[in-house]
């Protein structure tokens, strides 16, 4: 009986690692990453090394910020992550430790159509060129406070017509250039301003105070009125739906 249980366990492990091999081939050894059978590429060699299970879980789920290693949580199911770790231990050795698993962090931003529209890259004036949600987008506008309390109608109106209400500024430079933007910072001899006047994305410009003739608020700066027109009404509604679904960050 004991042998049978062992055999079943071994079979399960085998099935898991062969599923894991598939996951590995389609997620980890793709492109220039960890190489076939973990033989290294741009990512480090995985085979013939000693790994702790908790390190693999943490690294696979959360990725390594600032490196090419992405966070797989949400992209691979828990079963698939477990399977790929089983597979990695067939090509490497496990460091003895009590097997533990980190608790997954709750995801704040849902993948929904409105999110794709918010960051719709080919659209020059997509929302993400000024607004930042979670860790994507640009910090031209202040972070959203919770939008869940707002009605869809109110939010839609804001998207279509709200002028830039904070830090708006108009500068006049000695070389004759004049433009409106959003003030991002100030030090002893320079001003930092997001220039919203170009055809492309906002430009964070550092203006030397000595080259400044004058500056004043620019309360009529209304990029929403123009930029929201690049979306259709139904697209704007999808964006509203997405924004009202975001939990407070």
């Amino acid at each position: 009986m004991k042998h049978l249980i062992l055999l079943i366990c071994l079979n399960t492990l085998h099935a898991q690692s062969s599923e894991g091999k598939k996951v590995f081939e389609t997620s980890c050894s793709v492109g220039y990453c960890h190489g076939v059978d973990g033989r290294a590429g741009k990512g480090p060699r995985l085979r013939d090394r000693v790994w702790s299970r908790s390190y693999l879980y943490k690294t696979i789920e959360q990725g390594i910020p600032g490196s090419g290693m992405p966070a797989w949580q949400g992209k691979l199911s828990e079963d698939k992550i477990a399977a790929v770790i089983s597979y990695i231990f067939t090509i490497s050795r496990e460091e003895p430790e009590s097997a533990s698993k980190t608790t997954p962090a709750p995801s704040v931003v849902l993948d929904m159509p409105g999110k794709a529209l918010f960051f719709d890259l080919p659209r020059d004036k997509n929302c993400g060129v000024c607004h930042r949600i979670s860790d994507a987008g640009s910090p031209v506008a202040p972070r959203f406070k919770s939008l869940r309390a707002l009605s869809a109608q109110t939010l839609l109106k804001q998207i279509q017509s709200q002028p830039v209400s904070e830090n708006n500024i108009q500068v006049h430079l000695q070389d004759g250039e004049e433009f409106c933007g959003v003030k991002a910072g100030d030090d002893h001899d320079s001003l930092r301003i997001y220039d919203l006047g170009g055809a492309g994305p906002p430009v964070l410009r550092t203006i030397e105070k000595k080259s400044l003739l004058d500056s004043k608020p620019c309360p009529s700066l209304n990029v929403h009125a123009d930029n929201s027109k690049t979306y259709s009404s139904s697209e704007l509604m999808s964006i509203v739906e997405f924004l009202t679904s975001i939990k407070t960050q």
Binding site: V30, C33, D37, G66, M69, P70, E177, D195, G198, V203
Partner: protein, 541 residues
């Protein structure tokens, strides 16, 4: 102002005019990587000695930059988007700028940077989170900073050097192995506002969009990750466009996939497409056509032709008429090329051998190419084109994988293999640029993954993975000098002169995707040390 712009343009167009500086990525707009300096030459190079070294402190991913030199000041970048201005005669640091890179940004294309561009009193650098920054050339202070496209969402960034053309700075993008749509952007140097953008994949209702199946154009790659060339007389910018994504599987992007694997000629002022030449329609091997466009003039059948020489990762070099984009000739430079048998007189590929989905197939060269990105050189003295060449193959398995925008889209996997009938390794060769006839071949045990430098002293400089920086006789390939810098070479050497003394500078620092994969064939290379040191050499005073 216009006068200054034109003067700067003229300087970069002609190497012979101002050989003391190295003002743009490839030395000059024609991408020759050639210098008219000849104080260091074939007769005295054996006396070459190190005069200073500079540590950048960042060794991850390989030290891959081309230093620039203007008026006795050198500008270099290290991995992680650090910029240093250095006294080019003494090695003393004048200023540095460390870009504040967000921790959350992934580095799917490695932490490398290939260098800056200079112009109008500014230093320009593309960043790992897809920004372009402009710094004051005297202080290193940031003057403007534009987020081109959200790196987190696009799965793309910038590792290549920008190119300043008149009052604009042009920059490409990575993302060829991602579900992404590539582009080249031009920004006004003064304000950072965008002047024009060229999409490398046409959108709906644009000519060429019908070369993409269904919606595949949106995620079709077409990266522009290296740096283009410029012909001031024709006012055309030439840029190589990379492979389509998914790299190895074409089943969901039927069609020729314009303008991937093309050379494009763009109006420098407007970004308008003047002509394109597609080297590999519907690429399924990752044969990035992103490499340098070398602009040379040669007499063919009694007529002087303006030519564009374009080495492709797949092992062939295309020679085009750069006025019209007409095909002139094509020649093989890799010794192990199995995916096509040749190029016919019209420029069409012969004997294409497409890998089959889910079936492992041996393909030569490997996805690292018959050459990596590191650039070759053209010497007007010898008339030869010099290029490193690498020899190994891959067992490729194409797979149908869903394209998720902003994430990797490779369409399969690969395993490095030795060539079936010859040694794996590398060589540095001299070619006739039009016929491709090989003049000599310098052999290396390991693949050569560094750029070359040609000089009027009849020298070719380059480095190897073991850390040897060496000089060859440009006419014969004979090795004349070598110095061990202690870490392998992945960058691009340059030469310049300050106060009448000629210097040669080279980044030494092993790393990168291609370097990281070498242990699959050469296990010992896993222990090759990384590094982050710029070495500078001169003749004893």
């Amino acid at each position: 102002m216009r006068k200054i712009l034109l003067a700067f343009t003229a300087l970069m167009a002609s190497a012979a005019a101002e050989p003391q500086d190295w003002l743009t990525y490839s030395g000059t707009y024609n991408a020759w990587r050639y210098s008219g300096l000849d104080q260091i030459n074939q007769n005295n190079v054996r006396k070459l000695t190190p005069v200073w070294a500079f540590q950048t402190g960042k060794s991850e991913g390989g030290f891959s930059c081309t230093p620039l030199v203007a008026g006795g000041v050198m500008y270099i970048t290290s991995p992680g988007n650090r910029v240093f201005a250095i006294n080019a005669a003494t090695g003393e640091e004048l200023w540095h700028y460390y870009y504040a890179l967000p921790k959350t940004v992934g580095q799917d294309y490695g932490p490398v940077n290939r260098g800056v561009a200079l112009g109008q009193g500014l230093v320009f650098m593309g960043t790992l989170d897809n920004h372009l920054v402009a710094l004051d050339i005297h202080t290193g202070k940031e003057v403007w900073n534009v987020n081109i496209e959200d790196a987190k969402e696009c799965g793309c960034n910038i590792t290549g050097a920008p190119l300043v053309v008149k009052d604009k700075v042009l920059v490409g993008v990575t993302g060829g192995d991602s579900a992404h749509r590539g582009y080249i952007n031009a920004f006004f140097t003064k304000t950072g506002r965008r002047a024009w953008r060229f999409w490398t994949i046409p959108g709906p209702n644009e000519p060429g969009n019908d070369t993409w199946q269904l919606g595949s154009w949106k995620t079709g790659g077409g990266a522009t990750w290296l740096t283009g060339s410029f012909d001031p007389e024709l006012n055309l910018v030439y840029w190589g466009v990379g492979n389509p994504a998914a790299d190895l599987y074409g089943g969901s992007r039927a069609g020729s996939n314009l303008y991937t694997d093309c050379v494009v000629a763009l109006d420098a002022d407007t970004g308008e497409l003047k002509w394109h030449y597609q080297e590999i329609p519907h690429d399924v091997w990752d044969w990035d056509s992103a490499y340098e466009c070398v602009l040379i003039d040669k007499v063919i059948n009694g007529v002087t032709r303006k030519l564009l020489l374009h080495p492709n990762k797949g092992g062939f070099t295309w020679v085009l008429d750069r006025v019209t984009g007409q095909f002139i000739s094509g020649w093989k430079f890799g010794e192990n090329v199995s995916w096509a048998s040749g190029i016919d007189e019209h420029g069409h590929l012969l004997g294409r051998s497409e890998p089959v989905k889910d079936k492992p197939t041996l393909v030569c060269p490997s996805v690292s190419g018959s050459r990596s990105w590191n650039h070759g050189s053209y010497s007007p003295r010898t008339g030869f084109f010099y290029s490193p060449v690498i020899e190994y193959c891959d067992l490729i398995t194409p797979r149908d994988e869903p394209a998720v925008p902003g994430t990797m889209s490779f369409g399969g996997g690969f395993e490095m293999k030795r060539p079936p009938n010859s040694e794996a390794g590398g060589h540095l060769d001299a070619f006739d640029p039009v016929s491709g006839k090989r003049q000599w071949s310098y052999r290396s045990k390991y693949p050569l993954l560094a750029s070359t430098l040609a000089t009027a002293g009849n020298l070719i400089f380059s480095g190897d993975p073991e850390g040897h920086f060496f000089a060859l006789n440009a006419l014969t390939g004979e090795k004349l000098w070598s110095f061990s810098t202690g870490s392998g070479h992945r960058g691009s050497p340059i030469t310049y002169s300050v106060g009448g003394r000629q210097y040669v500078a080279v980044p030494s620092g092993w790393g990168s995707a291609a370097a990281g994969a070498l242990p699959q064939i050469w296990p010992e290379t896993e222990d090759f040390p990384s590094g982050a040191t710029l070495f500078v050499f001169a003749l004893p005073e």
